[in-house]
Amino acid sequence: MSMPMTSTGRPIPRADCLAHADGTITFDVAGGAATGTALLLKRRGGKGTADELRLPLTGSGDGAARAVLAPSAELAEGRWDVCAESGEVLESGIRDLRAIVDQDPVRGPVAVRVPYPTADGRLAVRCWVRAPHAEAGAIELAPDQVAMTVEGVLYGAELGEGAVARARLRSGERVHEVPVTGDGRAFGFTLPFGPLAEGAAEEQLWELWLRPAPDVAEVRISRILDDVWDKKSIFVYPEQRTAGGTAAPCYTGDNSLCVRITTVP
């Protein structure tokens, strides 16, 4: 119900979002007159022509206007701010994202777009573009084995002989590899924490990658096929005791899967 004001005393225009199952997102802007004839999507940190997208606004007669982000529109991975044509920010209104809560894309590159409110309530869109994509699912923890078992789904690539999951220390060269089992698109692996924790002197973050076959590029394992744009504090896992501290799976601010190793002095 609140109505924030601009410095000139005009209410900040507010946009409601509706996500459709086919990937389309519609933006309904109240106070449409204030926003001009289009919405601008600007990729944060981007300077090129591909980092700005103009979405025409069409009036619905009662002062509201609608812009449509088609699934075919190209948006690079990152955070896109939604602005009025004047560059003025929009307030994030009601975001009806039920259609993207449990996604399972059938074909093509995985392109995920989640409208979200920034910390100060402005509307932005979080985009991921992955081809291929390794989606993390359930993570089982086996305290007696000090290990985790990850289940996932691979999109846009085939699991071959010799597929491996690789834990790579974020700030270093160390890599630890375990075999991956597969069944169609589904993959799974068990990663013991012991070797990761070995010799750790401080908190360490190990990134998890999937290499579907020996001669192909690695794929970052992430969890992006839903409406939770920031999983860090929501998808939280219990810590396991290691010889020298604790280990637990976690997600980064980009929703990529990691293992966090801590040491107890």
Binding site: S2, I94, L97, R98, V101, D102, E140, V236, Y237
Partner: protein, 428 residues
């Protein structure tokens, strides 16, 4: 009618403010409505001013305002008229006493409506003759401390009507207090229709939302969901909300989720506002509270088309949910019963979707328009009792004033005695 609401602070955020705004806005279509806020600490109401309603304030707490009242010496002295039993007493002062008294004794309205016990008591004591006095109870009689309940019993005799948000609480007022001639009526809170389309109840999510405090008993919901997952691992639970001044159960719930190995199935989502877009991601809503003065979240979820599994706790749920039709009522604190009720809805898509549609239809009775009509009917009747009633009221007033003086003494003596006894017990 000219209707004047008296609100603690119309510029903050809260359930009473929202409800009062909804009602004032609806009444303003046909009546002259004002909201008088005791305090004003910001320029614009945080929840948006209701259209068509005149906003006034009595004490200005905006430091930059030319009318700033914070330096008034009276603001440093404790309130004498505003009752000490009201939890907000510390915020009131001799200054608020003086301003409220001046407001109530010169009120240019047919009726004044109080929105919390301390203000209702003040209205009962100080409103000028000829103005109809209504006291609204947004919590429950039970939820107030001993001291405030005594004050209510004693002072509400001078009101024309008391409204509660549940029939159960109205019964408490009727049966436990002697308020002769005071009309006591239950009118539930209103919830506007959501801006999103209703849920179709096909997703495999259970949704709960509220403050993460002890009284909400989310621990029971997590325990129950452990049983749900054992039978139906394809279903998951989202709990929205955060702690508040009275506590934060997040860490305890996190630990319980870890202990039960539910980290793939139960998610603490943090706060979300508005909630309607989150309800519709679910197919069932769950409420496992020990206490719900009304049960606003139950109505919100139903208005989004979700069947609700709720504990049959005092006071609201049983007056909102029709057990077996648009949701389920289960015994308070019964983990197995909660799990069984959830599983029954989870296991039968047709039943769940039918219950969701029933919830959507049944919850339309909480729309602001019909709820405002019920208030309006009561208000109209009270004002129309007219001169006769008013002179009877006046007679009652004289009688009560006489009785009041006696009461005052007996009351303070009794109160003092009780206080001494309690203190004795505490030190023993």
């Amino acid at each position: 009618m000219r209707i004047s609401f008296l609100l603690h602070n119309a510029y903050g955020i809260g359930g009473t403010i929202r409800t009062t705004f909804n009602l004032a806005h609806a009444l303003a279509e046909r009546h002259d409505v004002e909201i008088v806020s005791v305090f004003r600490h910001r320029d614009e109401p945080a929840m948006g001013a209701p259209a068509g309603v005149t906003m006034k304030h009595l004490v200005d707490l905006r430091k930059k305002s030319p009318g700033y009242d914070g330096n008034d010496p009276l603001a440093k002295l404790p309130a004498k008229v505003f009752p000490r039993g009201d939890g907000r007493h510390k915020q009131y002062s001799r200054l608020t006493d003086v301003r409220i008294a001046a407001h109530l004794s010169s009120l240019d309205a047919d009726m004044v409506v109080g929105t919390r016990p301390g203000l209702n008591v003040t209205i009962a004591r100080q409103t000028r003759r000829g103005v109809v006095r209504v006291g609204q109870e947004h919590l429950t009689l039970d939820s107030h401390g001993y001291r405030l309940r005594r004050e209510i019993a004693h002072r509400y005799t001078m009101l024309d009507a008391v409204t509660t948000v549940t029939e159960a609480d109205a019964r408490s007022y009727r049966e436990r207090l002697k308020l002769p001639g005071v009309r006591i009526e239950a009118v539930p809170n209103s919830v506007p229709a959501p801006a999103v389309a209703p849920a179709d109840c096909t997703s495999k999510w259970v949704v709960a939302a509220g403050r993460l405090t002890r009284v909400k008993r989310y621990d029971l919901l997590v325990e129950a969901f452990s049983k749900v997952v054992a039978a139906r691992p394809d279903w998951r639970l989202r709990i929205y909300g955060s702690g508040d001044a009275s506590g934060n159960e997040k860490q305890a719930l996190r630990a319980l989720i870890d202990e039960r190995g539910l980290h793939n199935h139960v998610f603490l989502m943090g706060p979300a506002n508005p909630l309607e877009a989150e309800w519709v991601k679910g197919s069932i809503a769950a409420v496992t509270s020990r206490l719900e003065s009304f049960g606003m979240t139950i109505v919100e979820a139903m208005r989004c088309g979700l069947p609700v599994v709720s504990t049959d706790c005092p006071h609201g749920p049983a007056e909102i949910i029709e057990d077996g039709v648009d949701g389920r009522l289960v015994p308070v604190g019964d983990v197995d019963a909660i799990a069984d009720a959830l599983l029954a809805l989870i296991g039968d898509d047709e039943l769940r979707q039918r219950a969701g549609r029933a919830a959507l239809a049944a919850s339309a009775r909480f729309d602001p328009a019909p709820i405002a009509e019920r208030h309006e009917a009561l208000f109209t009747e009270l004002v129309a009792r007219g001169e006769g009633a008013r002179s009877r009221g006046a007679l009652r007033e004289v009688l009560h004033r006489g009785r009041s003086a006696l009461y005052d003494k007996a009351y303070s003596l009794r109160y003092l005695a009780a206080d001494v006894i309690r203190r004795g017990k505490k030190s023993a």
